[in-house]
Every structure is written in structure tokens, then in C-alpha cells.
């Protein structure tokens, strides 16, 4: 996994609540058996005016000029500012893969759906929860100032705005450690192989029907 330490990123605002993973990456793109290449189809149904299918040349498709990511001022954005319950619905990890592949490294919202939140950390994508009022204010600031960028410092757990304001955020110590160091958590878990085996042996005695 790619390390995440600090990031200075242009902010793109996606001003709607309950953005589901079906919207982030529609199902027709889930037929891929790879982890990469989903970026061009991120938010496909909102981003293009035609119907997208796998295998199309996305550079030839008509863009929806009203969709925020198609506005020139947000080109190259690294941070997505979103509303509550972002990433709800399907557990598809293709959603963080698509966000990542598009170029986002951090997401800011008043709340994320549980499975999506978890999936982000496994892919070097940092989801940051900020208070709803703060997020609301950030939406206004982004709107008002083209080129609006934030600095995210994971080690210090803080965001710096263009005016120099510091916004602290919470993150689990374990997840932070993995992200800062780009650690693969399967490798970490396998260091506890003996604990898993001991658990299994005990459980096999207590509940043998689980091991038939």
C-alpha cells in the first residue's frame, strides 16, 4: 500500500448527502477482475452524458458540463469534500479504487458509511470526519476561492486551510500507523499466527460443530 504522510491538495466539492457506492462506480464496471483502471469511470452516470460500458474510449465520451469534477477549476483535485453518509450502500471496494485511481488521496465529510470508511484505509485513501458546521464552512470557502487547497498532515492529525486555520481530526492509532508506513495488514496479522492457532484450538473444544 502507498504511504500517506502529508498531502497538499486542491479541493473539489461534491455537494450532496448520501452519495452511494453505486453512484461512485456503477455496477457495469464491477465486472473487471483487476484493482486498477476505475478512475475514468468514477461517478460515471453523473460525469458523462451518455451511458458508459466497460471497454469504451472514455476520452471520446460527452462530458456533463454541470458535474463538478468536469469544471476546469477542479481539475487535478486531490481532496474531495463531501456531505454526510458518503459511501453508503454496496460494500464494493471498487469505490475507493476508483476515487484513488482518479487522483483523490483524502476525503472530507461529516460522516462516512462504515464499510466504505474501512475500505479507504486499506487503499491508502484517508477519509476525514469533520463536524458538519466545519464542513459547511469549507464548502463555502471552496466555492468562493478558485484554487482552494488544503494541507493534510496525518502524523499531526491536522488540516491547514489557506488562511492558516488549523482543523484537528481524529483517526484510530492502528489505522494511522498502517497508513503512515504503508503497511499491509495481512502481513501484520500473520505475525500473530500463534494467537490465531491457539484461539482455533480452544474454540474447537468449545464449539466442535463449527469445525466439521
Amino acid at each position: 500500500m502507498e504511504k500517506f504522510t502529508t498531502l497538499k491538495g486542491l479541493v473539489a466539492p461534491l455537494d450532496r448527502a448520501n452519495v452511494d457506492t453505486d453512484a461512485i462506480i456503477p455496477k457495469q464496471f464491477l465486472k473487471s477482475i483487476k484493482r486498477t483502471g476505475f478512475g475514468p469511470n468514477l461517478f460515471d452516470e453523473w460525469r458523462y452524458l451518455d451511458h458508459g460500458e466497460p471497454g469504451m474510449d472514455n476520452s471520446l465520451r460527452p462530458l456533463n458540463p454541470d458535474f463538478v469534477l468536469n469544471q476546469p477549476r477542479y481539475r487535478g483535485a486531490g481532496i474531495l469534500l463531501a456531505r454526510g453518509n458518503f459511501g453508503c450502500g454496496s460494500s464494493r471496494e471498487h469505490a475507493p479504487w476508483a476515487l484513488q485511481d482518479y487522483g483523490f488521496r483524502a476525503l472530507i465529510a461529516p460522516g462516512f458509511a462504515d464499510i466504505f470508511y474501512n475500505n479507504c484505509f486499506k487503499n491508502g485513501l484517508l477519509p476525514i470526519v469533520l463536524d458538519g458546521n466545519v464542513v459547511d464552512r469549507l464548502f463555502k470557502e471552496v466555492e468562493a476561492a478558485p484554487g482552494y487547497a488544503l494541507i493534510v498532515d496525518l502524523a499531526a492529525q491536522r488540516i491547514t486551510t489557506p488562511s492558516g486555520e488549523i482543523l484537528p481530526f481524529e483517526v484510530d492509532a492502528f489505522r494511522k500507523h498502517c497508513l503512515l508506513n504503508g503497511l499491509d495488514d495481512i502481513g501484520l496479522t500473520l505475525q500473530h499466527r500463534d494467537d490465531i492457532k491457539a484461539y482455533e484450538a480452544r474454540r474447537r473444544m468449545e464449539a466442535p460443530w463449527l469445525f466439521t
Binding site: A23, E93, A113, F174, I186, A207
Partner: protein
């Protein structure tokens, strides 16, 4: 010391080790796998030179991509076929049991797990699919996971997780005839919202829940994720045990007795404390219909499409306006006045035998309305289909003008050929009315199987509880 909730008990029984910040390794007893969220996980294993820790804990089935008609031609879409073949190869390589496309036991993963007795009380169950919450109906800790976690569970038999908070939703009282588990869970989501359960493990309790069959309980737990909760669960009782007895994967003989003794403990202690409690009166629940593009955008059959102008929260108002424009609905329109184009009876929420019986009872001897372009029934599994055919339910549906299909996810997410065309409006027994879920531009209204059947006959939504009163005279 205060007592433990059911979730506390299930959690505690599976802790392998805990980090200082509370991150915990929990052991996984059952891993269900389907073709869409697993290929990258198996590929990851292969690249790292790893093997599944306990292949016997895994049960695999293709469901999302499988065609529901013309099966004799195989899977014609090459991309879908590759995904299904990849699952077949991965299972063969690692000695994982798979119910392949031609196996009568094949079906939607959340239907076949319980049907086979592969989901048992006290288990931790995971699947790379958010509706894994379904299996919580058996007092299991059942959660949807992402593909990285699928790989993690394959490689280590464990999941890394922090414990959630406890929420109890009590539904007491007797629902009116015609009110189903689907109406109960839509009422719950209408109450707490789609993020209401975020960060919680939900336990459903109360007399109305206890009175549900196992299939009804699965319908309720299935939609926990639509309320934001990764898992929903219910205590073990005689209904649970009666359902499981003699299922293929359930323990037999002395082992069954030993298991039952342990399972009887799988309920919250009387003095257990919940972080949040919600109560609903079942007697007040009416048939529910969603009007928007999120399951919380729901009202009753007597209701009207709400007016965004009345909403004071700007973000919510914007969401409502977008939803109404997407759905092609006007504020104040009566729900009963909404005419439909398609009817879908299926999905892991409502494609079990009792769902099909409830729908068949409504359409028996009647015809699908003229304005309905397609009405389809997609059984949840090959065994559900077989049982329905034994009861001649297929004939009732076909005579009424429904298509009787082969099992799979089908138009619940439209990954195969079954889908809505732009602008088409559908009464669906599935679980998500998101934009584009059933096909780009398609408009989904979530309802119970009985409500979908009644809508098929009328051509628009009707109050199924009134229908039943007339037909019983």
C-alpha cells in the same frame, strides 16, 4: 456488573487479540464468497504466495452476473463469463466448495447460506457483500466486508475491527394482516434514517420481531445496512432452531444437542445496556413505498410525495429536489396514483419461498395490468424455485403474465441483462432505490412482495391490506 448484549457475547467469543487502541482481531467462522468482490482478493493471495487459512470455512457461489434466462446458452456476456470462470478456477485451485451455475443449490449468496444451514447461531459470518447482515437473523455476527478484507480473511481467518456500539430496535404489538417484514424494516429506516445505524450493531427485539418467521427475520436483518449498520441481529429461539434442524450443513445427532445448548444462551441479558434504543408499534405500521432515491425516502401507501419546500435543512432539501426530479414525481402526488412500467419480485431481501407465496396469493387468477411492460419473478435459489414449482406457484405467475426466471441477483442491481431502461418505473422487492441501481435512469420504488404483486395487477400502487379484506369476503 451489567449484563451483555447479544452483540457483546458474539464479539467476546471471537476475540483473538486486541491492540491498545481497541483494534481487534476477530476470528471468522464462515466466509461466503461471490464472483464480483473476490477475484482481486484471490489475485492478492497469489501474488503474495499465500493460501487460504481454512478453505473448509468458505462457501462460494456465483450470483450477481448469472443470467436468469436462456441458461442453456451459458453466459453470453464475455465480461460476466470471465468473472464467473475466475471464481470457478479460484475455488478449484484452493479446494473451496462452490455451488456452480448448473447446481440446483446455486442462488443468491444470502439465500443459500441459511438454506443450507451454512449460517449457524453464534458464528461470525463475512462476505464481500453489504447484505451479509441478513445472516444476523440467526444470532450470528454477520457483516459485509470489502475486497481487501476478503483477502485478509482468506489469508488469516480473521478480520481486523473495532467494536461497534449497541443499538436495540424494539418492535412490539401485532401488525395488521398484509403487513410484512419488509414494511417493518422500511418503517424502521424511515424512522432512524440511512445513517441512523452507522457505528452501531443493531439488535431487533420485541414481540413483532419474535412473531416473524425466519424468512421474515432475514428480510429485516438484510436491510440493516440500509439503515447504516454493518450488522443487525436477533436472539435465538425455537423458530431459529426449527428452521435449522436437519439442514445439510447444520450439526447432527449429539453435536446438534450440544450446539443447541450453547445457542440457547445467544440473547441479550435482561440487564444489558444499549447505547441507543428505538421503539416502534407494529400495530401502527402501514404498507410502505419509497418515493425517492434513498431507502429513507419512504412513506406509506396512504401517503403523498413530500414537498421539498417544507424542508428547512438545505442539504436535505437539495437531496429531495434532486430525488423528485430523478424520479419524475411532483410534490403532493398520491402514492396510489403512481403508475408503473415494470415489476421485480426477487433479491436477497424478498425472494424466498414465503415471499413468492405471498405474491402468488395476490395474483392468483388475475392478470398483470396492460401498462406493465414486464413483470418478473426471480427466485432466490434453485431450491426455492424447485419448491415453488412443486406448489405450482410458477403456473400462477405465468398465467397472470409474469415471467418466471432462474435464480440470481438479476434486476436488484442489473449486472446481467435484466434492467430498467431510462425513465422506466419499477415496483421492486429489492433493497436499494439508488439512482441507476436497476439500470441507468431507472426509477425504483421499494415495496413488499405482496405490494409489488398488487401493483402488477392494478398497474399502479394499491393498498394490499384493503385488497385482502375484499378477497376474504
Amino acid at each position: 456488573m451489567t449484563g451483555k448484549t447479544l452483540y457483546d457475547k458474539l464479539w467476546d467469543a471471537h476475540v483473538v487479540r486486541t491492540e491498545p487502541d481497541g483494534t481487534t482481531l476477530i476470528y471468522i467462522d464462515r466466509h461466503l464468497v461471490h464472483e464480483v468482490t473476490s477475484p482481486q482478493a484471490f489475485e492478492g493471495l497469489r501474488l503474495a504466495g499465500r493460501k487460504p487459512w481454512r478453505a473448509a470455512s468458505v462457501l462460494a457461489v456465483p450470483d450477481h452476473n448469472v443470467p436468469t434466462k436462456g441458461l442453456e446458452h451459458g453466459v453470453t456476456d464475455p465480461v460476466s463469463r470471465l468473472q464467473i470462470e475466475t471464481l470457478d478456477e479460484n475455488c478449484a485451485e484452493h479446494g473451496i466448495t462452490e455451488f456452480k451455475m448448473n447446481d440446483v443449490r446455486q442462488g443468491i449468496v444470502h439465500v443459500i447460506g441459511p438454506e443450507q444451514g451454512a449460517t449457524l447461531p453464534g458464528m461470525t459470518v463475512v462476505c464481500g457483500d453489504s447484505h451479509t447482515s441478513t445472516h444476523g437473523a440467526f444470532a450470528a455476527l454477520a457483516q459485509g466486508i470489502g475486497t481487501s478484507e476478503v483477502e485478509h480473511v482468506l489469508a488469516t481467518q480473521c478480520l481486523l475491527q473495532k467494536k461497534a456500539k449497541n443499538m436495540r430496535i424494539r418492535v412490539d404489538g401485532a401488525p395488521a394482516p398484509g403487513i410484512t417484514a419488509k414494511d417493518i424494516v422500511l418503517a424502521i429506516i424511515g424512522r432512524i434514517g440511512t445513517a441512523g445505524g452507522t457505528g452501531y450493531a443493531i439488535e431487533y427485539a420485541g414481540s413483532a420481531i419474535r412473531a416473524l418467521s425466519m424468512e421474515g427475520r432475514m428480510t429485516v436483518c438484510n436491510m440493516s445496512i440500509e439503515a447504516g449498520a454493518r450488522c443487525g441481529m436477533m436472539a435465538v429461539d425455537d423458530t431459529t432452531l426449527a428452521y435449522l434442524k436437519d439442514r445439510p450443513y447444520a450439526p447432527k445427532g449429539a453435536l446438534w444437542k450440544q450446539a443447541v445448548a450453547a445457542w440457547r444462551e445467544l440473547k441479550s441479558d435482561d440487564d444489558a445496556v444499549f447505547d441507543k434504543e428505538v421503539r416502534l408499534n407494529a400495530a401502527e405500521i402501514r404498507p410502505h413505498v419509497t418515493w425517492g432515491t434513498s431507502p429513507e425516502m419512504v412513506t406509506t401507501i396512504d401517503g403523498r410525495v413530500p414537498d421539498p419546500a417544507q424542508e428547512t435543512d438545505a442539504v436535505k432539501r437539495g437531496g429531495m429536489e434532486r430525488a423528485l426530479s430523478y424520479m419524475g414525481l411532483k410534490p403532493g402526488a398520491a402514492i396510489t396514483g403512481i403508475a408503473l412500467d415494470k415489476i421485480f419480485i426477487g433479491s436477497c431481501t424478498n425472494a424466498r419461498i414465503e415471499d413468492l407465496r405471498a405474491a402468488a396469493q395476490i395474483v392468483r387468477g388475475k392478470k398483470v395490468a396492460r401498462n406493465i411492460k414486464l413483470a418478473m419473478v426471480v427466485p432466490g435459489s434453485g431450491l426455492v424455485k424447485q419448491q415453488a414449482e412443486k406448489e405450482s406457484l410458477d403456473k400462477i405467475f405465468i398465467e397472470a403474465g409474469f415471467e418466471w426466471r432462474a435464480p440470481g441477483c438479476s434486476m436488484c442491481l442489473a449486472m446481467n441483462a435484466d434492467r430498467l431502461e431510462p425513465g422506466e418505473r419499477c415496483a421492486s422487492t429489492s433493497n436499494r432505490n439508488f439512482e441507476g441501481r436497476q439500470g441507468q435512469g431507472g426509477r425504483t420504488h421499494l415495496v413488499s412482495p405482496a405490494m409489488a404483486a398488487a401493483a402488477a395487477v392494478a398497474g399502479h400502487f394499491v393498498d394490499v391490506t384493503k385488497l385482502q379484506v375484499t378477497s376474504s369476503k
